[in-house]
Amino acid sequence: MGIPLAKLDYRDLYQIKWILGGLLSVLAMWNVFALDLGFTWLVWGAASLMAGALLYPPLTNGLPAWFWKMQTPLIVVFVVSDFILAGGDYIPPLIRMILLLTLLRTLQPRTRREDLQLLLLALILLIVSGVLTLEISFALQVVLFTPLAMLYLFVISLAEAFGVEPEVPEEPWNGFSWRAFSQRVRGLFDARLIAFGGMLFVFLTVLSAGIFISLPRFELGQALPFLRMQATASSTGFSEDIRFGDVVSILNNNAVAFRADVPERSTSPIYWRMMALDEYTGEGFVMSEVARSVGRRMSAHTLSAPSALRRHETSPEDGDWTLYLEGGVSRFLPIPGLFDTLRFQNRQDLTVFDGMGAVSLRELPANVSFFQLTRVREVAALPRTESDRALLRSEGERGSGALAAYAELLLGLPDDPRNRRILEEAVEKIAGGETLSVQDFGQRAIAYLQHNRGYSLETRIPPGREDPVLRWMQAGLDGHCELYAAALVLLARAAGHPARVIVGFAGGDWNGFENYYMVRHLHAHAWTEIFDQDLGWLHFEPTPAADGPGGSSPGSDAADTSRDLGDRTWAAYLDSLRVIWFRRVVNFDRAQQAELIQGVRQSVGSIGEGVRETLRDALAAIRSAFENPLTWRDAGWILRNLAIAAFVWVALRFLYGWLRGRQFAWPGGARRTRAEAGRWLRRLREAPGSCLPPGVESPEIPEDTVEEALYQLRYGPPPSWPAPAETFQRARQTLRERRRAAR
C-alpha cells in the first residue's frame, strides 16, 4: 500500500515555495531587532511588509509594475548613500543592505534563481545577526530555519522537475484562500511521512551537533576582527568621567549587566572593579589625564594582568573565571581581583591601565562579549606597582616629573580653605590626635561617616558654598555609595593618605540552577582604595549595610544572597539557559573539545574494560567448570548464558529480517509467491515433456508457456507479475496433462 500523495500542480508548488520563502525571511529577521542598527523604521517596516505579504500573499499583486522596474536604481542609490554616510562603520549599512534585498526578494514573484537568492540572503542575515548578538535565540532560529530551508529547497527542486516556462505562473494568487490552500497542503501529509520527517530532523540535529563538536579548533590567534558592532552609548554611564549620581542613576535597572562563571560561590560579596578614578573635580571623580596617558594600547587575544592586578604567587585553589559582559554596559571590564592572564575569544583592541588595575576595550561593544581570567584571587589589597613609587614617603624612593604630579593628584583636595578646614576638623575627630595606620584610619573614618547615617538613593544635599560632599557630610544625611566613597577619599587625602574612588559592581545574584553570578545594573557600586606604604592599595567599603538606616546598599545585598540557595525563579531559569548557551556553545573552545573527547574516550575505555572483565570471568568460570566437577550451579550458569546468547542472536536475526523485509522486499508477501513459483518450476522441470532442460538455471524459455509465467513470478518484480493463483493453477494442470500424456 502506498502513501497517498496529493496531486499538486505547479501553481500549488509555486504558492508553497513562495510562502516558505516568506517564512524564512521573517525568521531571519528575528535577531535583527536585537541589533542597534539605527533606521528603526526600516527594520519595523521591512518586518511588517514581510509579515503582511506572508499573511495575505495576494497583496503583492497590488504592487505596480513601475515599482519593480525602479527597485534596482533605488536600492543602489540607497545603499551607496548609506555606506557613505555611515563613515567607516560598515556593519550597520551592510545589514541594512541585506535586509532591503531580502525584503524585495520576499515580496516579488520569484523564479527558481530568485528563490535561491532569497534563501542565501536569509541565511546571511541569520548568520550575521547571530554572530553580532550571540543570543540563544540564534539556536532556536537555526533549529527552525534549517528544516524550513530544506523543505524550501525540496519544493524548489520539485517545481523544477515540472520544467514549466515561464517559472512564475500568470497571476499566481488569483482566487487564493488560506482555507483551500491549507486543505491541499494537509493532503500532502501522511503519518509515516511526518514520522520520517521527524526522524530526519533529529538525525540532522544530532549530525550538526556532532560536526560542531568535532570540527577542529585551530589556535590561529583569532586574527580577524570579525563583525563587531559598536554601541552608541554606555547603558551604565561608566566612563572615565563620573559625576555624582551617575552610578546611582542605574540602580533601579534590574537587567543583568554581566554574568560570571566562577569555580565556587564566594562567601563574601565580590567587588567587580572596573575603573579607578583619581582626580576630584568637585562634581565627581574622573580618571586623570596622567592616568589616561600611561594606558598601554594594544591589540591582543590574550594578555597578562596589569601590574596592579598581577599575581605573584599562585595557589591550587585559584580557578579560572569567565565573564559574559552584556553589550553596551561599559568599555571597562569588571575584574574581581588578581589574576594571571586575560583571554578573549577574538583579538581585541584594548587599553591597559597598569597602575589603576583596569582594562578597557577601545570601543564599546554592542553585543555580548566574554573573556576569561585565569587563576583569579579576590584580595583586600592590590599590590604596589611601579607607578605607585611616587606615593612612597621616602624622598629617595619618590620619583619626579609626571610621577610626582600623579602623587599630588592622588592627594588632591578642594582648594577652598573652608573646605580644607572642614576636612581637617573631621580628620582630627577621626584620629583624635593619634598617628594611625591606613587600616585604622580607614576603619575609624568609615565609622565616622556611618555614625547616625544610613543608606539612601535620594539624597538632597543642602545648598551652600562648601564642597557638595562636605556639605552632605556635615548635614548628617543618609547617602549613597558615591557620596560615602568620595567622602572617605577626601578624608584620607586630608590625612595624607593617597586615595581613589573605584567604580564597578558589588555582589550579584547567585543563580541556583547553573551556579553563577548574575550581576545586575542595580549592583553598580562605588568604593574606596587608600594607599598603604607597605601593603599597597587597601580596599574600604564606606557604604553602610542594607539593614542600616535609610535603605539598602548593593554590597550588603550581595552578602545576603550569598547565604541563601540563590535565585531559583523562572527568570533565573531562563537566564541559566542563556549561560548554558554561552558556556557550552558560544564559548566552546579547544580545551572543552579536548575535555569532551577525553570524556568519551574514558567512557569507551570503561565500557571496554567492563566487557573484558565479564569475558575474563566467563572464561574463568568455564575453565573452572572443566577443572572441577560440574556443579548444578555451574551448569545453570552456563545454560542461562547460552540461552541468553541464543535469544539475543535469534532476536537480532529476527529484527534484521523484519527490517529487511519491511524495507527491501517486494510488497504483498512476494517471498512466499517466489518460493511457490520456484517449487512449481522444479516440478515441471522434473516432469516428462518439460521444455526446461534439467539443471539449467536460466534457459531460453519458450514464450507463452506456464514456465515463462512462473519465471516471471520467481524472478520478476511484482508489477510485471501475472496473477499468482491462476499461474499456479495453470502449472498444476500442465503438470497433470504432461504426466497423463507420458503414460
Binding site: G2, L153, F154, G716
Partner: protein, 389 residues
C-alpha cells in the same frame, strides 16, 4: 552492465540484462548485511562504474559558502560560525543520504513497443517502480537516447511515486533511418532532495530495435502485370472466402459468426470454420540485382521503402504471395509474423546484399524493381513498368 543488479538471472554469456528485465542501482547486492554495509562504505570513496555525484550550481554556492564560513570560523573562533558551518555540512550529508535512499528503492525497465518505422513516431516506454516500503520517490529524470540517430529525450518523474507504484513514461521518437538502432537509458539523474547534488547513473538497458523502411507514395497499375496462373497452394491459404478449408478449435479473437455450432455441440467445445480465401491474383515481390545498379544511397533507400510499402499493402490486401531476395528463393508470406520478418529483412538490406534473381519464369506474377532516373524507382513485371515511387 556489470554495475547494475538484474532482478532476474541474466542469460549465460551476456552482460546485458534480458529484455523486459528490471534494473536497480545495485547498492545492495549481497545478502549479508555486513558485506552490504562494507560495500556501501567502499562506494562512498569509489562509486560503482557509471555512478557519479556532482554538485549543482546551487551546491557549488553552498560549498563556497561553507568554505567562506569555515575560513571565518577558523580565524575568528566564532562558534556561531561553527554552528552555521556544521549546519551546512550536515545539510550536504543529509542531501547525499536522501539522494541515496531515493535511488535505493528505484527499479526501472526500458521497453520498446515495436514496430518502428522511418518517419513515423514510435514509442519507447520506461517503467519506473518504487520498491520502497514506505518512502515515495521524487524528482527522477531519465535521459533516453537513440544512439545511431543521435536522438535524445529527457523524461521526468515530476510527481512523487508512491511505494509499490509503477509509473510509465513514454518517449515518442521518430526514427530517421532504417536499420538497427540502439535505444538506451543514457542517464538516470536526480537532484533530489535539495538540488545541491546531481546523482547520475549512466548507460543502462540498451535495447536493439529494428527500424523498418519508411512508407512512400507510389503509383501502381497491377492490371499491367502479366498473369500466368494462381500460385497453387499459396492461393489456398485461409481467408474470407466461402469454401470450407478446415474446422479447428476456437481461438480468442475469432469471430463468433465463424463458430460451427453443430460441430461445437458434438465436440462439447467451440469449433470454428476456416474458409479458403477466394482465389485472387497474388504477387511475388523480388528484390534483386547488383549493387552497381544502385549507386545512389537515396535511391536505394527509396527502393527499400517502395518495396516495403508495396509488400505491406499487398499483404493487407491478401495478394502478396511471397518476397524473394535475390537468389534465395521466395519467402512465403502467410502471417503477420512472416510480413514482419520480411520488413525486418528490408530494414537491414544493404546494396551489397543484392543478388541476381533465380526464380523460374512463368511460375508467378513477379514484381521486380529497377532504378528510374536519378532518384526514382520503378516496379517492373516481366519487363513492363507497372508502378513507380
Amino acid at each position: 552492465m556489470g554495475f547494475l543488479r538484474s532482478t532476474a538471472p541474466a542469460p549465460p554469456g551476456t552482460g546485458a540484462p534480458p529484455a523486459g528485465d528490471w534494473s536497480d542501482p545495485g547498492f545492495l547486492l549481497r545478502n549479508s548485511p555486513i558485506r552490504n554495509a562494507w560495500r556501501l562504505f567502499i562506494q562512498l570513496f569509489k562509486p560503482p562504474r557509471g555512478h557519479r555525484t556532482v554538485p549543482t550550481r546551487t551546491g557549488m554556492v553552498l560549498i563556497l559558502l561553507a568554505l567562506g564560513i569555515g575560513t571565518a570560523a577558523f580565524n575568528t573562533a566564532q562558534n556561531i560560525l561553527y554552528i552555521a558551518l556544521a549546519m551546512l555540512l550536515s545539510s550536504l550529508l543529509l542531501s547525499g543520504l536522501l539522494s541515496w535512499m531515493n535511488f535505493k528503492g528505484c527499479r526501472w525497465r526500458l521497453q520498446t513497443v515495436e514496430p518502428y518505422r522511418v518517419g513515423e513516431p514510435g514509442t519507447v516506454e520506461l517503467a519506473v517502480f518504487n520498491g520502497n516500503r514506505w518512502l515515495p520517490i521524487y524528482s527522477l529524470s531519465f535521459d533516453l537516447a537513440a544512439v545511431g540517430q543521435k536522438l535524445a529525450q529527457r523524461l521526468s518523474l515530476n510527481r512523487g511515486l508512491s511505494p509499490g507504484d509503477t509509473s510509465r513514461l513514454a518517449w515518442d521518437f521518430t526514427p530517421t533511418r532504417r536499420g538497427t538502432e540502439t535505444v538506451l537509458l543514457q542517464r538516470l539523474s536526480s537532484k533530489f532532495p535539495f538540488g545541491f547534488l546531481v546523482k547520475t547513473i549512466d548507460y543502462t538497458q540498451p535495447r536493439e530495435i529494428v527500424v523498418w523502411p519508411a512508407r512512400v507514395p507510389y503509383t501502381l497499375q497491377l492490371e499491367r502485370a502479366r498473369y500466368t496462373r494462381p500460385l497453387g497452394n499459396i492461393a489456398r491459404r485461409p481467408g474470407g472466402g466461402t469454401e470450407l478449408r478446415n474446422l479447428r478449435h476456437y481461438r480468442p479473437g475469432d469471430s463468433l459468426r465463424r463458430i460451427h455450432w453443430k460441430a461445437s455441440a458434438r465436440q462439447r467445445r467451440l469449433i470454428v470454420r476456416e474458409n479458403l480465401e477466394d482465389a485472387e491474383q497474388s504477387y511475388v515481390l523480388v528484390i534483386a540485382g547488383h549493387a552497381r545498379n544502385w549507386p545512389r544511397p537515396a535511391q536505394f533507400e527509396r527502393l527499400c521503402a517502395f518495396a516495403a510499402t508495396l509488400a505491406e499493402d499487398l499483404h493487407v490486401a491478401g495478394r502478396l504471395a511471397g518476397v524473394g531476395f535475390g537468389d534465395e528463393g521466395v519467402q512465403r508470406v502467410h502471417t503477420l509474423g512472416d510480413m514482419h520478418a520480411v520488413l525486418d529483412r528490408m530494414a537491414l538490406l544493404q546494396p551489397s546484399d543484392l543478388r541476381p534473381a533465380s526464380i523460374p519464369p512463368g511460375a508467378l506474377v513477379i514484381l521486380e524493381f529497377a532504378p528510374s532516373g536519378s532518384d526514382h524507382v520503378t516496379c517492373v513485371s516481366n519487363g513492363n513498368p507497372v508502378g513507380q515511387a
